[in-house]
């Protein structure tokens, strides 16, 4: 007898998880080849550019982490990758903010999309911490200047006891391991949420029939 993979008789958590995924995230939603007509706008490109910039940030960051500070300060190739990492971060933040403006004015939290919006907000916040630890990890005078000036501000918030901006090892560890993983996971979750709920439709402006007829007369 052939065992059915999709059998509902199984009460295991793996079967329950599979059924939930099949119901909430079918392949047509996960990898769609068609989008609604309103997606044909440059505003929807901002999010994609942000993801592209994040890929460049991670790739250039992996190279920098592999070769180390002496390489990225003293060799021409190292300085190139250092600049590539810095400027892709600038592009990442610029387009993330443009994406935020676009989604804010579209009220993209409508019709059950609040989790998508909230994951985006958390991603923004975690990205700021990732960028901050990046500035502290440069291994130059600017990093020391930022660390010395930030120390009092961070201590005033009460987290200075376990987030020591003067501790290069802690800041570098957070910057190259925990925070990039967090940002990447949050972005993946954000995209999955968009795929589950679909792209938010435009806000339909309701026009009263009397007003419409007046406009037509003119």
């Amino acid at each position: 007898m052939k065992a059915s993979v999709g059998s509902d008789s199984s009460g295991s958590w793996t079967a329950a998880t599979r059924r939930q995924l099949e119901r909430r995230l079918p392949w047509e939603n996960l990898l769609p080849d068609r989008q609604p007509f309103w997606v044909g706008s440059w505003v929807y490109v901002f999010g994609v550019v942000t993801i592209a910039a994040l890929i460049w940030v991670v790739l250039s960051g992996v190279v920098l982490a592999a070769f180390g500070p002496q390489w990225w300060h003293l060799s021409s190739v190292g300085r190139f990758f250092n600049s590539l990492h810095f400027w892709s971060v600038q592009v990442f933040f610029v387009f993330m903010v443009l994406h935020l403006w676009g989604q804010y004015f579209m009220a993209s939290w409508r019709e059950g999309r609040a989790p998508t919006w909230m994951i985006g907000v958390v991603t923004f916040a975690v990205s700021i911490v990732a960028a901050f630890t990046g500035y502290l990890s440069q291994q130059n005078f600017a990093a020391q200047y930022i660390a010395i000036n930030a120390k009092d501000a961070v201590n005033s918030t009460g987290i200075g006891g376990f987030f020591n901006v003067l501790n290069f090892g802690q800041m570098y560890g957070l910057h190259v391991m925990l925070l990039p993983i967090a940002v990447t996971l949050l972005v993946v979750l954000h995209i999955i949420q968009v795929r589950m709920k679909g792209v938010v439709p435009p806000i339909v402006q309701e026009v009263k029939p009397a007003v419409t007829s007046d406009l037509r007369k003119k």
């Binding site: 007509f37 044909g40 706008s41 440059w42 901002f46």
Partner: protein, 51 residues
């Protein structure tokens, strides 16, 4: 490039010129994204016109 950036100080507003320029460019880019037509995309009204 090796000098500190200049600042705009107008009342309570204090911002470096490079930051102000970047914010201006972002606003321009956002406006252009709303105005410029997306390549390969026809609006519904154009499709209706073609029948």
């Amino acid at each position: 490039m090796d000098q500190p950036a200049g600042y705009l100080h107008w009342g309570f507003i204090l911002i470096s010129w490079p930051n102000l320029l970047l914010i201006g460019l972002m606003l321009v880019l956002f406006g252009l994204a709303l105005i410029l037509p997306f390549p390969g995309h026809n609006s519904v009204s154009e499709k209706e016109k073609r029948g």
